[in-house]
Symmetry: C2
Subunit: 181 residues, 2 copies
DNA sequence: TGATTATATGTCGCACCAACATATGCTCGA
DNA sequence: TCGAGCATATGTTGGTGCGACATATAATCA
């Protein structure tokens, strides 16, 4: 799931600027399973344009900053469909939160409480967003994917709420032992 | 969660070679929320040695390849505890699988079936691994983390099993329309 | 009026992932 | 018993891409 394929996937459902592609990646329906940055998107769009997989149209409004609106070409659509039908890479999950939880012995209980409460708040917001997004989406796969996300986030949220206090209680044991020395 | 902190975290629970650190990252108890590669670990260990956060002991057995066994220093332990108590970065989840599912219109049903069945098989193995790991681990945070992983993978597994056929049924609609043109 | 936010494009340094190169010992089937 | 393949082990390299920075304009708001 490199920047190239991500750009093609988003452009396949409508034209967009680099700014909008990034925004959809981190805020829109794609946001909970893709992630990217300007430093990846802009070079990717340049290369895709060179290769004829996307087209770029300059939109100039007097007195406004110029926009570069990208749209997918037939060749690009073929390349996208081809990429989708290739064997896929493994999902990636990296969690500084779980590393902190696993090493809770060395973490100050107050810090641990802050960390887990922030995580709970984050999941709550994500769940609300996913519920709201369910209605206004016409792609058949999108609904399936949103329901999947809801199911997983829900399980995650419930575990954290139920086991919050237990984690905080375990925190700091090694640290206080060290301080006592 | 850079390579530095990861090395310190693993070395904090016992000495290890670069090879073993990588193995624990992708196979051990850490495996479902960290990920790394040799290209990150070996340079990180060199830098940590230079900075005095870890120590390196050459273990030479005649007729065997030399091993470099790393262990954490008191200074390294301090740095690790300090890193744990800093504000943490966001969790990262990237899923080529969900991107494929979301765009299932453009995916051949046979390919979709293969992709989801592989994912189900993967989750089944992970769940079995997590159950087995539950017993033989003495860190207090590890049990909490393993239960969290089980809860989330379980939710994910059940959703996939229940909604497998629905996803495959939705697949390929756009592709066959295109082929018919 | 000035501060901040949203839109918009882009660059740069450093980190790091995937693949390759290299070397040895062990196991197991032909 | 001999070679093939696998596990152990260390490292390099090329390209990708993340995070931070630079720049610019319009709108909003105190």
């Amino acid at each position: 799931m490199n920047a190239r394929t991500l750009c093609l996937a988003i452009l396949n459902f409508g034209e967009a600027t680099g700014y909008e592609i990034r925004k959809k990646s981190i805020e829109g329906e794609f946001s909970y399973f893709v992630d990217t940055s300007f430093g990846a998107i802009y070079p990717a769009l340049s290369r895709l344009t060179d290769e004829g997989l996307v087209e770029c149209r300059d939109e100039v409004h007097p007195g406004k900053p110029a926009r570069k609106v990208y749209s997918i070409t037939p060749k690009g659509r073929d390349a996208f469909v081809d990429a989708l039908n290739q064997p896929i890479e493994q999902d990636v999950f990296k969690s500084p939160f779980l590393l902190t939880a696993m090493c809770c012995e060395f973490v100050d209980p107050k810090h641990m409480a802050k960390v887990i409460d922030e995580r709970i708040e984050y999941l709550k917001n994500k769940l609300e967003f996913l519920s709201a997004a369910k209605s206004d989406c016409d792609m058949p796969g999108a609904a399936w994917t949103l329901h999947y996300g809801s199911a997983v986030f829900e399980a995650s949220y419930e575990y954290l709420v139920k086991n919050r206090d237990a984690l905080i209680a375990m925190s700091g044991s090694a640290q206080s032992a060290e301080a006592a020395e």
